[in-house]
Amino acid sequence: MSAVTSAVPVAHHGHDAAHDTHGADHHEDNYAVAWRHNRLGLWLFFLSEAFLFGGLLATRFYLWQENGITTRPPLNQVVGLVVTVVLLISSFSMNLAETGLEHGDRKMFMRGLVVTAVLGLVFLFGVMIFEWGLFPSIHETELSPSKDVYGAVVFAMTGMHAIHVISGLVFIVLIWNLGRKGHFSQERHWGVEACAIYWHYVDLVWIFFYPAIYLIGTAIHH
């Protein structure tokens, strides 16, 4: 977790930079090497996660068919489109935040993080209210995780994705708090880059989940 929250990369080479006799240049080199290693590690983590989400996608295409025809639950496509656009805009604001920091624009960095977190919450509550029906007083849904394969798969896919949205939101809050205290600079911001690409990964997963859940196949009404 310290790789996530710290302004300093985790993968260092076992010595205190303050006591480095080779001076500041060597210290910067170590930081750059550590940054590169951490980046590779994060992408390997994404690769491992791809198997998880790929398995869920395979489950959807295996179970959602009747008489050889691909089917899908009768979800509200407008809701799907709206939450998808919200998540897409949050990826844009996150990219603005990261780009802002890389170009010395701290105001854009901090504001971008706040906008991303708010949009992430809107996405999360959109799914919770309109797909899960967690607040029946606002919206009721026929889907249930135990009713049939449609409910089970929708809840499995959106639930697993929601866990990643929540962890991404926690990540953003941590980065925002560190940024507020003056951490990160144009030259040293591995934590920000990790947070940004993690959030984009959450968006990337939804790029495939959105058509799989809402668009592909014939809507089945039971």
Binding site: E28, D29, A32, V33, W35, R36, R39, L40, W43, T70, Q77, L81, T84, V85, L88, I89, S91, F92, M94, N95, L96, T99, G100, E102, H103, G104, D105, M108, E193, A196, I197, H200, Y201, D203, L204, I207, F208, Y210, P211, Y214, L215, I216, G217, T218
Partner: protein, 67 residues
């Protein structure tokens, strides 16, 4: 520096617009000409844009020290 910054913001907005347009096309394809292959292809185009421009996958192969 301001010119570079503005160009970076413009590039970000262009990618976001591209993703929004493809999302809109996805929606109308699903309603008017439902095709699993077309929808998966559109998703693939969006994924490539996100991985390349937002997730900066090319940085994995850059020289150490650059970002």
């Amino acid at each position: 520096m301001n010119g570079k910054r503005a160009a970076a913001y413009r590039a970000s907005a262009t990618v976001a617009l591209f993703l929004a347009v493809l999302t809109g096309i996805e929606y109308f394809v699903a309603i008017d000409f439902p095709s699993t292959v077309v929808l998966l292809l559109l998703g693939l185009f969006k994924a490539v844009a996100v991985v390349n421009y937002f997730m900066h996958i090319s940085r994995l192969w850059r020289q150490e020290g650059s970002h």
